[in-house]
Symmetry: D2
Subunit: 303 residues, 4 copies
């Protein structure tokens, strides 16, 4: 069990640096017989693609995914599904000779590995998250009965969507950046998915979401509000939280993730004023991955 895999029975392993020749992912444990083509995966990738609006980084990557294995005549075969995106826009000279950047993982990588690929964010780049989205697109095939939807709930502390555009303009003008809270709702998970104790559905979701770049907090259901309430006040909330004792209840599962502001303000490179906006599809993907895995696990033990 190493560092670049995620999942238990349905498991994926990502690889690649933002400024290397390509990035990729291998999805293992996918059931056979599911209809799949590159267009399905591409659709989810396009949602998170940079360069599609003024509020996201202007880096222009077509992010064209290729499926290299695990498919025969448009259906999964049960063998590993390898996907790859070539990096066609690698302006690594933007980064050459830069010292470790505060708020990036540069110094941490130096501490861990002794030396480091200085081009872009290396593995820590947000680009790696494209492969989570690709894997999440496969996960969704396993749980067609579930809808997973993530969206911005707060931007720079502001919950009113009508204010967001002007906040972003202001931040851009000041070369500043903004944090965001992303909310994700999953409807349709069957009662019984999940597990008590150390593979709790909520614990796995927390790991999945906290593992996304820039996320600093995760709430399931009532979250920190419950930590500040009394039992009488929160009882109605609890009945609707979607997970009890680590196991899905059949009600919608709700979680929120706090994305810190982009840390690269005033330094080189090309970055988003609010990475949280592009975080929503990644949160969706990770939630779909956890649910697909637990569906298979539940079927394995209790099916």
């Amino acid at each position: 069990m190493s560092w670049n895999s995620f999942g238990r029975l349905f498991r994926f392993t990502s690889w690649g640096e933002s400024h290397g020749p390509a990035i990729g992912v291998v999805v293992d444990g996918c059931p056979p017989g599911l209809a799949l083509d590159e267009a399905h995966v591409q659709g989810f990738l396009d949602q998170r693609r940079p360069g599609t609006g003024k509020n996201v980084s202007p880096r222009q990557e077509p992010d064209r995914v290729r499926i290299l294995s695990g498919l025969y005549e448009g259906r999964t075969t049960g063998t590993p599904i390898a996907m790859m995106i070539e990096n066609v826009d690698q302006r690594s000279k933007d980064y050459a000779g830069l010292p470790p950047r505060p708020g990036h993982a540069d110094a941490a990588y130096d501490a861990k590995y002794g030396f480091r690929d200085p081009r872009g964010g290396g593995r820590a780049s947000a680009r790696e998250t494209a492969m989570r989205v690709a894997a999440g697109a496969i996960a969704r095939l396993i749980i067609p009965e579930v809808t997973v939807t993530a969206s911005v709930a707060e931007l720079g502390g502001e919950a009113d969507p009508e204010r967001w555009e002007s906040l972003l303009d202001e931040a851009r003008g000041n070369q500043d950046s903004l944090g965001a809270v992303i909310e994700c709702v999953a409807e349709g998970a069957s009662p019984g998915w999940g597990a008590p104790i150390y593979a709790k559905l909520d614990a796995d979701l927390a790991a999945a979401v906290m593992g996304i770049n820039a996320v600093k907090g995760v709430e399931i259901g009532e979250g920190f509000a419950a930590g500040r309430a009394s039992g009488r006040a929160s009882l109605p909330l609890m009945q609707a939280s979607g997970i009890d004792g680590g196991i899905a209840t059949g009600h919608p599962i709700r979680l929120r993730a706090a994305f810190k502001p982009t840390s690269s303000i005033g330094i080189g490179g090309r970055h988003d004023p609010c990475v949280g906006i592009r975080g929503a599809p990644v949160v969706e993907a990770m939630v779909a991955l956890v649910l697909a895995d637990h569906k298979l696990l539940h079927r394995g033990q209790c099916g």
Copy 2:
């Protein structure tokens, strides 16, 4: 990889129901040669023991731990360390014939397993957390250079400790209960512990803490405040967060956990008015377990 184990290289597996004959834990992967006796573990267990104050459940368990393997002449041998606590006070009649209790995991267990041990909380009981504390006591031997301290930061939304006693009295009088926010600080983790991508130190900590009964939210470092801030405002905070890109920086690691209020108000059984108070030693244990595991993992790959 099943449901009742936690950890990668340093790994523990807990077992037992609150109203069965005993509960226990097997700790695997502990390095050899560490000084250990039952008193060391007992000391940590006594901190979380019920019946030691008016604010925690009056159930009287001596919680006397026995170490059954993995020791020779007071030192660990590198083989699995089995620990067990007999359940001497099992008033399961308190629960006989009770329907699934709202806010407990009863209905979720029914959905998952088809039938369920109705006595006490079964595996979902807070009693299982004693074994996490016992395992955490072993973990601390591996990281003697690290101090891990958790304490109540907020109680019922109140951050001023002087108000807590009266809030608890009030809740008890009303047969109500209170949520809590527990803060944990770990000092002394070496730069380099952790891993990028899917075994991030912060993601592992989030899973560890979210897996504790009643926890509904986890923040690392600046947490949700960062999700509500601008980059300029949060930059100073970020430099002190202790984890960057999933890897320890050498600065203190800070996290907060939101414990929801006890859900058993007005129902049978014996329970705490604020489970969060007893949650602090469990948070400490889980943080120690994750750090010990990552110390060994880092030594394995980069040592």
Copy 3:
């Protein structure tokens, strides 16, 4: 993933030294609702119990197993099943002050861990295998459609059972010991169990059986005979081997394990003249464990 666990979805973790207070095992991932009591497990343990014949070690252990968790009213609950046997006959003085014994793992433990519990074989004792038999008894509940039977095929190189008794008498008289080949046949495994590439049914069986003390060789199906044959000659054999490409075909699965002779001849302690005889129930247990695990895995991915 540590050293004392075995299995993927259905997983057990054993603990305990032969001369400590007890040995035990925690079985995790067992489906709920299966009828189970201590007598079922005890029946399998009694088959391998020492002291039941002149050809096995005279150590007298009642080997009385207790089930401590995971059961409610005679059925499994889906939570971990902890089992324990107290060591009532611990003559560790037999071993006190002995130097590392050739053919035992003593020197290897010294090399690995730096120091070692010198009493009996510690973890390396054949006594640990009792817990594999106990776990195997649970595994059999998951695969009631499969019969797993192991027996002696050769003793000291002799395949004719009528010669075995006199060979054993002769060995005992000479303070010598004998190797054995154990054959195991599993009938009833469904076509499809297993997996290609790195979780092949035959590879998992090989690991399971090679991990038994004293086993030095494993053959699946036609085994080494196939390595010495031509394709035309072996084609009929291959069609009946029970596993193809790592996946069960539905035909009986056959394997053989080579047990080396007891290594303790002429040294202190109490030992069997032929450990292979007692190895048969352990081989059966390990085969049952692998098949149960793969049944659940197959149901998880392809169910």
Copy 4:
């Protein structure tokens, strides 16, 4: 933990079908700072390459490996190393419309997955083993102090190398094929590598080697000869076996693998008269992978 990964701390995941666009492998857990280039990996691949002699399949694949990640300026960075080989010679029409072939895994795949990629052997093709050789080339960087050498010990039951050429000519003339026994010796493994009980070095080696296509038997050290011997006769052998109680002793580790004859005699496709000949580099690779993994594991727990 899924089906297409191998290893614990040092872990690789392979993907790809013999007649798809490419095959590949992701190696995770490699320590940072090791000198690596494509030529190093290519050298090992060339040893197993088809089309390099009259005794191996005439399929002409350049098998040109590309390293896509995990390298910076000729050194490993500690992040995943992805390698890929494009399949330039995919004559899948050779196989179109063929029914399941006896001795291949075709029927087994049908049973498991319900449908199957009929082109070539799919995942079960010997071509997948190229990725094990590529991963093994990385493993060797971790254990430069160890030499791992595998070679043919018997061919068609004949141990005298001078007879092999004529046996092969004869088999080819008869459209027959031959089994082989491959012997592998690893020198330089440090005492202490390995683990008792369920991650024994010999059990991991058995799984690694039994998982190679066409292998039907594995022996460690004295192997089946020990199962047919007496203790007095085998004691000298045992002291030189290289593994005791699952742990390396520091002596050379010896194992043998039985490869069954090619099963495709008289059917379509292109195949080797003796797959065992090409199996030797794969056995070497798998042994190197297990030893590298256990070196890291030992350093993690006992370093």
